[in-house]
Amino acid sequence: MSYVLNTPADQQAMLKQIGVASVDELFRSIPDALRLKRPLAVPPALGEIELTQHLGDLSGRNQSAADAVCFLGGGSYDHFIPAVVDAVAGRSEYYTAYTPYQAEASQGSLQAFFEYQTLICQLTGLDVANASLYDGGSAVAESILMALSVSPKRHKVVVAGSVHPEYRHSLTTYAANLEVQIATLPTPQGFLDPDDLKAAVDDQTLAVVVQHPNFFGGLEEVEALGALAKAKGALFIVSFDPISLGLLKRPGQYGADIAVAEGQCLGNPMSYGGPYLGILACKEEFVRKMPGRLVGQTTDRNGKRCWVLTLQTREQHIRREKATSNICTNQGLMALKATVYLAALGPQGLKETAELCLRKAHYLADKLQAAGLPLRFQRPFFKEFAVKAAQPLHLLSQLLGKGYHAGLPLGRWYPELADCFTVAVTEKRTRAEMDGLATAAAAALRER
């Protein structure tokens, strides 16, 4: 079934008005030799009832966070989404709208994006934020493209090994054919040692990229690292966890030039990896080098305050190959969700959420340690931590059998950490769930 409304009578009337005998005639510009002479080999059409059953079957073959308690992190988290977020984002005036190029017909979305940009500035302590990028990984890559246009004579990028491996991989993929050398500094103690950075930065360094809290959940020495970058004239780029800013110093307070983040945690479901939200904020002086859309305030012909997409001469539809980025479609709906989420939490709600994550993560770390899973790193951590376990894949599989998505094995990205996995704890996790996981882990380890 398609959503076509034309009846056979409509079609006849339309063909008559056009002056052709058949729909096929309208396709004459496609040479016959290039036509597909058979139906597409795709599965048969389903009505809504059958489709609902089919999707029900497929989702029934998944163990979602609703089926097994989710302690998985690594950039995607099972945070709570207040109902107001879905109520607003579920308004089809938002989700079925087009990109707001026609400002007069898009004031709702434009104002919401202006509010989003403001909230991200308030969150990060930086001056300007764009209206979204795709995700946390491509946001890191975009931040380096941006840095290249800020400092075109510098070509070396220093990245901490404790930055999310998939963010680093996105960066190296984007930069494969550009004049950039990327050096990854190992982080054997679970954080970037400032002494190691000191030895690695020089006056050819374009940017230093760190993640705080990092991929293992640990804190970085951001103030020291930022000062080292600055001393050599390199840009200091930080990938942050938005929830952590309920407690931790903000990137603008510790000298970040550009701050990027994965914004999934701000009201977006995990959805097997997307659609997510790439956040990018920076200091005022770099505004004309920013990638992506920006919403600005102006006035209409009657002097009334209103909003438009602005500084578009940075963008691909104007600058073409000289644009600051190739991004066009962004993640507008996810930015709207983040806006409502941050407004619903407010300063106190964000602080309490961060405190709950912090306290519960530490509670669980103690419990797991007692169960025989020692912490891998001796670093202060926020809501995620790495533990050591023999044969972690087997253990995690056993724990899944007991109803727990217990952690992320690290061996795929860090061969030297093949005996480790990370565990993440959000404000949703209860003491009972954590006690249950610790008990199940202890039992599984005893059975060996």
């Binding site: 079934m1 076509v4 034309n6 009337a13 729909v23 309208l26 004459r28 597909l36 489709l51 089919h54 999707l55 989702s59 998944n62 966070a65 989710c70 950039g75 995607s76 989700y95 079925t96 709208a97 087009y98 026609q102 007069e104 017909a105 979305s109 509010e115 909230l119 308030q122 795709y134 995700d135 890559a141 998939e166 996105s170 993929t173 984007y174 054919n177 804190l219 309920g246 931790l248 097997y272 997307g274 600005g296 009334k304 209103c306 001469t313 600058r319 073409r320 644009a323 980025s325 190739n326 066009c328 479609t329 962004n330 993640q331 709600g349 964000l350 709950l356 912090l358 306290r359 530490h362």
Partner: protein
Amino acid sequence: MHKNQSTELLFDLSRAGRRCHRLPASDVPAAPLKDLLPASALADAPPPLPEVGEIDLIRHYVNLSTRNMSIDTNFYPLGSCTMKYNPKRHERLSSLPGMADMHPLQSDESCQGMLALLFEMQNILGEIAGLDAVSLQPAAGAQGELTALLVAAAYFRDRGEKRTRVLIPDSAHGTNPASAAIAGFDAVSIKSTAKGLVDLEDLKSRLDARTAVFMITNPNTLGLFDDQIATITELIHQHGALVYLDGANMNAILGITRPGDFGVDMMHYNVHKTFTGPHGAGGPGSGPIAVRKQLAPFLPAPLVTRQGERYELDYDRPQSIGRVRSFFGNVGILVRGYCYIRTLGAAGLREVSENAVLNANYLLSRVKHVYEVPQGDRCMHEFVASARTLRRERKISAMDVAKRLLDYGYHAPTVYFPLVVPEAIMIEPTETESKETLDAFADTLLRIRDEDAGYLHDAPHTLTISRPDEVKAAKEPILRWKP
């Protein structure tokens, strides 16, 4: 009732101490914060976010929503972006817990249903393209372009060929040259003929051993199928280069012709256009790419594979370019696209394109005597009309027409693009609109011709704002609220 309530900003609603979302009390021992984190890492106070109550928050954003046009409230005859109806079942089904509450890094064993869906989607998109392998990773069309160009670069590097240039018709979307630049290529512009097709002579003169890729949008941005396509792709292949298709206009050719069958080597889809993931006021999109067999080893990792009855993510792809984002892709949009394709089936997909083309030609035939169509009487899924006669005779511009349409409840068509048509008005009705809607829209376009020119210069008259001062916005940028 007017739509001017709550015109204040979210920040104006803030009152110290107001709350919307409340957190539970901690059920674990309350150690002092300084025992858990070093004092030097802690902020003195949380970020200065607004403090609002739930009803204020809801009224603010519900009232704001009424200041948008949207598919669900208005007809969008918007060329180049395929704004079709977004079926409601997709929203419900993509938010099932077994779809929405899935962590991207959970084990393959625990997401066999999801992997089955994504595997099927890879196959379906390969079949519609007539190409061999598909990556669902790119987040949007522009990222799909970049990914494919990185794949092309890796392919030529593997063959030991140094090719530095990407040829792009001057009528192409701006993302094409921007993507080429990031992928490390020099973008070279190819002229279009007066008919809006690729200028073969210009193409031949620029085609040489330095050419890596020719990027083409077909049907093109004028809504024409370039019937020279077989010649073009043959020419490109003779020079050892690859043909890339910008799939923005796939809505015209589903099940009628396949890019792989007309010589395309790689392409991207816009799932949020052709397969109706909603546009979300600018995103999210999803931009999968399909490629020929010889390019498949270079696709990003992971791909979904099937071993017997078991699905898995295949990361073991030694020649892969890597990845262009974290995690699998914009899965929520892919699930919607899958639901759409499964609803349509083969006959339904073809019906989409037949009726998209029928609707566009019908609209063209209804308005062409006033808004001339320089490229002729026939089009595919969209056409580009011109207001040049109106401009000359009555000083009415394409912009005036577009803005006046807003007063009548129609989203404005794309105007002044593509640049090859003066006073361009780019119209794409899509297949989901009825003849009555098209007739009413055509009548309105014709009525506007006779309206007072001065009144049109000042349009729109009935929306919440009149034309904004864009120069001021760019000259003195205000990009955030400040207390």
